[in-house]
């Protein structure tokens, strides 16, 4: 297949279509709008549905309806819009419907701005809507991964009957890079739970209501077991120069690319740092971080985020006090320069 120079946001749509997605319902918002543009352009060409919904809420509920029939469906938005989708996501998770939602994070709270932030971590990774549920969350850091991880998100969503979120920032959505597109997916798992209105489906029900407390508790326990299985089987991460690292720097999305460059510069100066990048945020690479915390050569951790420090909580839980965990964050849409990052990492190492 062709190597193309495309925006991350466009790679999402091409990846989704290659993954068999044939329904896109969305509402425009910067910096995610190119996803809707590309879906509007390509969905009709493959016989799929593109519909600009009247609201983010309507869009996620249209996805709910489409997903209920067993087809692969998606929507995309950016932070303020994602907040509005939380109701729908809770229903999707409760009814165990697979779908993919892309969140191209921007600055908040409120209207904030359209520059990149990572301040949706909590509302995306921790569930966000009401109830004891979790989303599967993947975090691409390149245009290539915008394609690949969107395709993976569809597979994981179907496999576990759970919403899967592609969580990234305005940079990864907006930047163009070469992408090697894979062949289209041709084999899909049978969805014997879907409601298509046909005889064989008559026994199925798409619903999130369980009136009896015992029934609802059992349903919740089943969901928790599912998340446990996901945690045991689906963690994906990237490690860079960690073999002998004194200092483990952790970041995802655009930040991981900055850390990568900073690590190289620090290594040239003889500073032993390495990077761990969670590619899946739910499941979070807790086990691996815990392992690293137990290694003698690892003296401390540092988490870098474009937020007030949200993922750092999960790192702290994983490290569980075994080693110090430092944090450096920028907010408002500011992205640290490499020089700044190198300086901050050194500062954090010195204070130990």
């Amino acid at each position: 297949m062709a190597k193309q120079f495309v925006k991350g946001n466009e790679a999402v749509v091409k990846g989704a279509i290659l993954a068999g997605c044939r329904a896109y319902y969305g509402y425009p918002i910067t910096p995610a709008s190119e996803i809707a543009h590309a879906a509007a352009q390509y969905m009709p060409l493959v016989g799929g549905t593109f519909l600009q919904a009247e609201s983010e809420i309507a869009a996620i509920n249209m996805v709910y309806g489409a997903a209920g029939t067993g087809i692969r469906a998606m929507t995309a938005s950016s932070s303020p819009g994602f907040s509005l989708k939380q109701e729908g996501l809770s229903y999707l998770a409760g009814a165990e419907l697979p779908c993919v939602v892309v969140d191209i994070m921007r600055g908040g709270p409120g209207l904030g701005n359209i520059a990149p932030e990572q301040s949706d971590y909590n509302q995306v990774v921790k569930g966000g809507g009401h109830g004891n549920y979790k989303n599967i969350v993947v975090a691409p850091n390149s245009a290539q991964e915008m394609c690949d991880l969107t395709m993976l998100a569809f597979d994981l969503a179907d496999k576990y009957r759970n919403p899967a979120i592609v969580l990234t920032d305005g940079f990864i959505g907006q930047m163009m890079e070469p992408v090697d597109f894979p062949e289209p997916v041709t084999e899909f798992a049978e969805k014997n739970w879907a409601v298509r209105g046909i005889d064989s489906d008559r026994i199925n029900l798409v619903s999130s209501i369980e009136l009896d407390p015992d029934d609802l508790e059992r349903h919740n326990q089943k969901l928790q077991r599912k998340y446990e299985i996901i945690l045991n089987n689906e963690v994906r991460l990237e490690e860079y120069r960690l073999e002998d690292a004194d200092f483990v720097v952790i970041g995802y999305g655009i930040v991981s690319r900055l850390i990568h460059t900073a690590v190289d510069q620090l290594r040239e100066e003889g500073v032993k740092v390495g990077m761990l990048r969670p590619i899946t945020l739910m499941p979070f690479p807790t086990r691996r971080i815990k392992e690293l915390a137990g290694m003698d050569h690892v003296k401390a951790f540092s988490v870098i985020e474009l937020s007030n420090g949200q993922m750092v909580d999960d790192v702290r839980l994983a490290v569980n006090g075994a080693k110090p965990v430092e944090f450096y964050g920028r907010m408002g849409g500011n992205v640290p320069a490499i020089k700044e990052l190198v300086h901050e990492i050194k500062r954090m190492m010195r204070v130990l």
């Binding site: 009247e54 359209i114 062949e183 798409v206 009896d212 900055l258 460059t261 320069a337």
Partner: protein
């Protein structure tokens, strides 16, 4: 024709197995509630039309949240007010199915006001049954958008007032005012005669969908003895004496006979054709990519800035694509959003031998300034020994830095000479290829046809490139 309210239609399950508890024979509705009657009318119609087999019933939040206990259909339960959106997703995925959105007044007229308006306005090919009993039944008798002035509810204990809550909403009239709906009628369930009229409306609403006519909306004035604190007979009387005066019965719109059936068929492309359809077929290169590899020592970090419309972003994309064809790592990122729409634009391009970390260019090796504000704003950031290329046709000042190479290019003038102002960016591309060692002119000339696929565009752009190239070589000399 009389309606047998007691008999069970085939449109219902034989036993209501999904209903919790031991009573699997009867509905959960209160005695005298209109839902049971309307359910019956719908189930009958679905059975009579043979539509029960491929029906998907979307249950809302409200007393009818448990409609899935009863209807022998595909059942999907929706969030409060969202049934029309859910029904949209279902119908678009399975156009051959009969999709019913069944909603109460709080669901449809309050929290779901937006969803119903837009589903109606799109003319979604669904049938909506709107149960208007002027009260929230399920949640404990609170005010609905359709509650009457003076009506006492648990949230209007002194009666609904104009001053505080405004007038009750007439949803059928609102829906009928839209262009797309094909059929809108208001009926009531108050006596045998009105139930028969309701029966006809229900059947029409479903038949319209079977015939693919579009969006049908049936508002049903219905009893809520519990919420109204009345007996069942009193409730029926109250509909006739009071409710109907505020919500007049009748057909508000019916153009089903005049409109042509909609073509709802899905035309899904086979997966083998998908790559071609979404533009992923391999480009045919008329050259061997391996022959294009040229070695350059230095990674380039380029910032391009100017007015919107000067091709600032495009120039960046082309540079990146050329780099990609040269097997370099490349990235491009624009300044996006309102600042772009405000008239200025800039983008950052990286061409590297190694994987690219940040796509942002803070200190460019090359600045391409296409207007004066850009030159003034970014000149200071260029690295020592870097280059500043600027459109000297438009910029009436010179760069002040002495430690960078200043390259004035009368790009707009040359573009105008060639007959198209918009190709000034390609002139600059030519200059870059002429004086620098990181763009091989031969490569650029081979990549340009991939960018400009229309012959006349390619010709003029090749000319612009050539002029720029000559100028660049002169500069080098």
């Amino acid at each position: 024709m009389s309606v047998n309210i007691l008999g069970k239609s085939k449109g219902f399950y034989d036993r209501y197995e999904r209903r919790p508890g031991t009573n699997k024979e009867q509905t959960h509705y209160c005695p005298g509630c209109g839902h049971g009657i309307l359910h019956k009318l719908i189930a009958e119609a679905l059975t009579d039309f043979g539509a029960s087999e491929n029906c998907v019933f979307v249950s809302p939040v409200g007393c009818s949240v448990f409609a899935y206990y009863y209807f022998n259909a595909g059942n999907i339960q929706a969030a409060h007010g969202r049934a029309p959106a859910v029904a949209t997703g279902v119908k678009r995925a399975m156009p051959e199915s009969i999709v019913i959105s069944y909603q109460g007044d709080g669901d449809l007229a309050a929290i779901g006001g937006n969803e119903i308006l837009h589903a109606a306005n799109r003319g979604e090919s669904i049938t909506v049954f709107f149960v208007n009993n002027a009260i929230y039944g399920m949640t404990g008798g609170q005010m609905a958008p359709t509650t009457l002035i003076g009506q006492k509810t648990t949230t209007t204990p002194y009666g609904r007032t104009l001053k505080n809550e405004g007038y009750p909403m007439r949803m059928a009239e609102i829906i009928a005012s839209l262009e797309s709906p094909v059929y809108v009628e208001r009926v009531m369930l108050a006596d045998t005669r009105s139930i028969n009229a309701a029966r006809k409306a229900v059947r029409k609403g479903i038949m319209n969908q079977i015939k693919q006519k579009g969006f049908s909306f049936v508002e049903v004035l219905s009893t809520c003895p519990t919420g109204w604190k009345m007996t069942a007979p009193q409730s029926q009387e109250w509909i006739k004496s009071t409710l109907v005066k505020n919500f007049p019965l009748g057909v508000l719109k019916d153009i089903a006979l005049q409109v042509e059936p909609l073509d709802l068929s899905l035309n899904l492309a086979p997966s083998s054709r998908v790559p071609k359809l979404i533009g992923l077929e391999k480009e045919k290169l008329d050259f061997d990519p391996d022959s294009m590899k040229i070695s350059r020592e230095i990674d380039q970090e380029i910032k391009i800035a100017g007015f919107g419309g000067q091709g600032v972003l495009s120039l960046g994309v082309w540079l990146s694509e050329i780099g990609m064809h040269e097997d370099l790592q490349v990235s491009w990122i624009p300044s996006y959003g309102p600042e772009m729409r405000g008239g200025t634009a800039n983008c950052h391009v990286k061409l590297s031998h190694n994987s690219i970390g940040s796509p942002l260019v803070t200190n460019p090796t090359i600045l391409i300034a296409m207007n004066r504000p850009s030159l003034e704003k970014f000149e200071a950031d260029v690295i020592e020994g870097g280059a500043v290329l600027y459109d000297s046709s438009l910029i009436d000042i010179e760069p002040t830095r002495k430690d960078v190479r200043s390259i004035p290019i009368p790009a707009t003038e040359i573009a105008n000479e060639l007959g198209n102002t918009r190709i000034s960016n390609v002139v600059i591309l030519g200059v870059l290829a002429g004086f620098s060692d990181f763009l091989d002119p031969a490569v650029v000339q081979r990549v340009l046809p991939l960018i400009f696929k229309k012959r006349h565009l390619l010709e003029i752009n090749l000319k612009a490139f050539q002029r720029g190239l000559e100028l660049g070589r002169e500069l080098l000399a």
